[in-house]
Symmetry: C2
Subunit: 334 residues, 2 copies
């Protein structure tokens, strides 16, 4: 019997944890759901039974959990992940809090599964936009080496939580019904707009989201020499992030080899038949666990250049699915 | 008295020609509106009077026009632009038909106005996504030299004409009202989606739109040595294209110098105060004639690297405004 805690169970990623766990139908697992005092007491249906959400407290982990899946924001993770870890539980944390801590492995199971076993009680789940990128890039990096990456993202509102989702839904409704809508999350309307602003701005002019893509890609691929830059943009899409990825490889490649390599890569679906209008789309990826790669073509503007278009559901593979996959990896062992 | 013909007057760009001409209120101009047989006979209000749209025919230009603004698609331009030019009229053509013809100047008035006077009866108006990019890039190219450009675009549906606009509008309505909508223009839903597919696919895996950005940027900037690659994407926005532009300069630059250079550039508005949530937005640019530049920041992943976010109304500066500005340039003379 494994005991699993879900922290932040009522949030968007928390609910996706439950959805993915229900689909996986793990044998011999027992679940306890936690949330803030505000959401405690609410009921959630999961795996054929109804759970009452408990309030997260300092003693919540005293009863002994094997795994805790956290998605309740960085400040909750900062306080409670060490408490849980000290009680012998392995925390798989979806916040940005621990990701760049040298003591904490940052894991994408298709890319660096071995790192998960080096944990000291906390494993970080990477940023959504980074996860899908490295699933597509890791096989290419292993074979040809990556010199430089230019990321431009097209990120969905589900990454901004329930209020982000509502801003788009209310914006669409206001447009259709000819009324006004008030924003709850974004500083500007997201319906009928693209916002080059995800997370807070840093001193260097980049957003935290852009900096995460740079730092986390290097950490997951175990290569601090990869030159990376990013522009991250929120677009009026509910689910699934799309990414325009321009890559410069260290060694020459054949396009057909890259395609074959990706076709044989775990977690990747190559959707690349443009003449028949087949390429990765948010509408295809939403609700699924795979990373879709297409628009593969040689970039003639630089030596060994490659362009690709990468799409995945940011709440599933970009958060909940990846965390559950890490848990399964730990259960299975090396 | 100048005589001006508007060809394709009932289309989306045609109507924008009228809107811009009305705002400019040119003295001593007389207008004749043309469209296909299907739209001929319809009435358009413009400059305080009502015009009956005439059918475009081989003898339409016999009566002697000074300028003809064409936006009726490449096949109409191919047939009728030479006919008009042979009658002594200067055609300013918004289609892709003549752009790469070495005999035809491709003009953005802020960038290469002198080229307009080298015309042999036809001047091409560049592709919308290229116009806004070169307005932002030309001052930088003049001062520092551009080595390489990586474009990723976020293009609005108005670039796909009335049917593209309706696909987004109907998609939003279907979402809000919980019904189905049928697509008229795009191969996949554009509401709640990003389509990495603008114009037809070429043998090399690029779309024509991507190839246009490469070829037209070089032609307008008079520099075949600039290395360029592009990924062009349709997003669920009605008006104004956004662009993530990554540039590698030939010579070192200071970020503050670039900002000042752009602030002093014709047709450019620098919107770049991220700490106060100020950056270029489609919602700000729509309906205006300027090119908005922001998110200016050093790209540390390459020598002399620079990232920028460039937004402009694709139907105004990206099409109608640019064409009218070319006409004004011709009227004014060198």
């Amino acid at each position: 019997m494994k005991r699993i805690a879900i922290v932040g169970a009522t949030g968007m990623v928390g609910r996706a944890f439950l959805e993915v766990l229900e689909e996986q139908n793990l044998p011999d697992c027992e679940y306890t759901l936690f949330a803030s005092a505000k959401s405690a007491g609410s009921e959630l249906d999961f795996g054929g039974r109804t759970y009452t959400v408990k309030e997260l407290k300092e003693d919540s982990f005293d009863s002994g959990f094997d795994i805790a899946l956290f998605s309740a924001g960085a400040s909750i993770s900062k306080t409670f992940a060490p408490i849980a870890a000290a009680r012998g539980c392995v925390v798989i944390d979806n916040s940005s809090c621990w990701r760049m801590d040298p003591e904490v492995p940052l894991v994408v199971p298709e890319v660096n599964p071995e790192d998960a076993f080096e944990n000291k009680g906390i494993i970080a789940n990477p940023n959504c936009s980074t996860i899908q990128a490295v699933v597509a890039l890791a096989p290419i990096h292993r074979k040809y080496g990556i010199k430089r990456i230019v990321y431009s993202t097209y990120q969905s509102v589900s990454g901004a939580g329930v209020k982000g989702w509502q801003d788009l839904e209310n914006g669409a409704r206001a447009f259709v019904e000819g009324c006004e809508s008030e924003l709850q999350k974004f500083p500007h309307p997201i319906f009928n707009n693209c916002l080059p602003h995800i997370d807070a701005f840093l001193e260097n002019g980049y957003t935290k989201e852009e900096q995460k893509m740079v730092d986390e890609t290097r950490k997951i691929l175990h290569d601090q020499n990869i030159a990376i830059t990013a522009t991250t943009v929120r677009v009026p899409v509910f689910s699934a992030h799309s990414e325009s990825i321009n890559v410069e490889l260290l060694r020459p490649y054949k396009l057909e080899e890259v395609r074959e390599l990706l076709q044989n890569s775990e977690g990747v679906i190559v959707a690349d038949d443009p003449q028949n209008n087949i390429y990765p789309l948010a509408s295809t990826a939403a609700g699924t666990d795979e990373v879709y790669v297409g628009r593969l073509r040689r970039d003639e503007s630089v030596e060994n250049g490659l362009n690709m278009w990468v799409v995945s559901d940011n709440i599933r593979k970009g958060a909940a699915t990846n965390a559950v996959q890490i848990a399964l990896l730990l259960f299975k062992g090396r």
